[in-house]
Amino acid sequence: MSARNHDVTVYSLRYGLPLAAFFVLFFITPLLLLVLVSLHDDTAVSVWGVAQYVKIFGEGLALRVLGDTLWLGVQVTVLCLALGYALAWAYVRSSPTTQKVLMMIIVMPLLTSVVVRTFAWVVILGRQGIVNELLLGWAWIDKPLRLLYSREGLIWALANVQLPLMTLPLITTLQRLESNLEDASAALGANAWRTFRRITVPLSLPGIIAGSLLTFSATITAFITQSLVGGGQMLFMPMYIYQQASALQNWPYAAAISLVFLVAVIGCVTLLSYLGRLSKGYATT
């Protein structure tokens, strides 16, 4: 039997050619075109120049909208982390049957349309919605609160929509944690809180980072929820891009802010991934 030099489980890179060609043509080229279009001064796309970027960095509105959007992402991610961590923690301590049911409940929203999920929040947060009806019924308030079209309402709606994205990586990580470590910690005299703080959370850091990355990316691009629950008085990047491109037909400006948005997202993702790699090292020592 002649020795084979190559691994039989590896296939020729040529199999990847169709998709690579597809991506070059329909993914990379449009993005390059986006860069080119953004380097024009007028809406008719005929005069070259950097006026769009001057406008973005000089005028300040675009940067403010970007900052607002990123901050929204942070707020939602933190809330999601609190909720998702507890849910994942409860999951790993449940019986297999409960786990099956829980998994269905967690995964299903990912397969349901975001319009459907957001629509529910319009019902929940409205002046005549459940939250207000309950609070009025219990006489905690005497006038309905403005929850819809408010930042708090938007944060809760987004946290709900993105919760599965945060919970799933956390479940994976927590499941890999050796329960021996927690028992050992307890046997050595640490109370539950200390064990949680010093052992469980740090060792689950890779999951926290992974979940945060997914939640953050999804939140800041959540166009539908931001628009239906946020309303017209809170402008975030996705709607800003859509308004400029579609209603105002200002393609160079829309392209420029899209690219600034893209770079910001890549920056945040890179930062989180870097933290993820650091934490992996930390978690396994």
């Binding site: 084979r4 691994d7 039989v8 489980t9 020729s12 890179l13 199999y15 990847g16 998709l19 597809f22 329909f26 993914f27 449009p30 993005l31 986006l34 279009v37 909720l83 507890a86 849910l87 409860a90 999951y91 998994m103 269905m104 995964v107 397969l111 349901t112 349309s113 319009v115 459907v116 529910a120 019902v123 929940i124 409205g126 005549q128 919605g129 009806e133 709900n160 799933l168 479940i171 994976t172 046997a187 005299g189 109370n191 539950a192 809180w193 691009t221 539908i224 990047m237 996705p238 891009i241 859509y242 491109a245 393609w251 392209a255 899209s258 690219l259 948005f261 893209l262 997202v265 993702v269």
Partner: protein
């Protein structure tokens, strides 16, 4: 030294808090869907919860909502074509890069997965500008192309994961018994990773059907997409028919998910 737990109070406090928050999270996940299901049976035009009266009138209205049917049919067609393209090209790409350690393979992997992280809106806008500059009008074809780019990562992810779990021993023994690579591919690899491909195809289909970021830019009235139609209807009027439609979509998704779970253990594969 005492073995076993000390400080039961802090133990209970911690566990109690965590379970409480977990329950809150669970309710947060379930409540919206249940609310939509219940509200869809209201007999009035308002979205008050709980509804003051019950009727199936909105489901009847749904049967007559031809614009919604049209959009749903378009979404279905586009999702089907997208899934087909994704499975064909994505599986081939997975075979090439899943177990390879070469630099090119890693680069390609990053490239193919990048649509998952990048804002879909930016890509949608770039695709619109691209087709417009080429003089290609918006159509089902451009929609399918746009959707394929953003949905193929799901197929690659589940297929690569299935490939990675394939025991190399199987292929090595097939090779040592004289099977050609094509034969091994057809008879061993593909059947074994078929559940992974199927799971990826399912996720890609749902992702395309529910896609908003790309459809927003690449669709017009003649190629209306259901999520966009629903969003625009919700924005300009409070149509309870949308609640009925949402319920139908939720039930259908639930049924499909149970089926896929039995066939491919999909919840495991979504976790990646």
């Amino acid at each position: 030294m005492s073995m076993g737990r000390r400080n039961d109070l802090s133990d209970i406090a911690l566990k109690g808090t965590l379970y409480l928050v977990a329950w809150a999270a669970l309710i947060l996940l379930l409540a919206p869907t249940l609310i939509v299901l219940i509200v869809s049976f209201t007999d009035s035009y308002s979205l008050r919860f709980p509804p003051q009266g019950f009727s199936t009138r909105w489901y009847v209205a749904l049967l007559k909502a031809f614009t919604l049917h049209f959009a749903a049919w378009n979404s279905f067609l586009v999702a089907s074509m997208t899934t087909l393209l994704c499975v064909v090209m994505g599986t081939a790409a997975s075979l090439a890069i899943a177990r390879s350690t070469s630099k090119t393979a890693r680069c390609l992997d990053a490239l193919f997965m990048s649509p998952l992280i990048l804002p879909g809106l930016a890509f949608g806008l770039s695709a619109l500008i691209f087709f417009s500059e080429l003089g290609v009008p918006v159509s089902m074809t451009t929609l399918v192309i746009g959707h394929t780019v953003v949905c193929v990562p799901y197929v690659i992810r589940t297929t690569s994961s299935a490939l990675m779990q394939l025991p190399p021993a199987l292929l090595e023994s097939a090779a040592s018994l004289g099977a050609s690579r094509a034969h091994a591919l057809r008879r061993i690899t593909l059947p074994l990773i078929a559940p992974g491909i199927a799971a990826g195809a399912f996720i890609a289909f749902m992702s395309s059907f529910d896609n908003t970021a790309v459809s927003l830019f690449l669709r017009d009235a003649r190629t209306d997409m259901l999520p966009i139609r629903m969003w625009q209807d919700l924005e300009s009027k409070l149509d309870v028919t949308i609640a009925a439609l949402s319920s139908v979509l939720v039930i259908v998704t639930l049924v499909m998910m149970v089926v896929m779970e039995k066939l491919t253990g999909i919840s495991r594969r979504i976790r990646g």
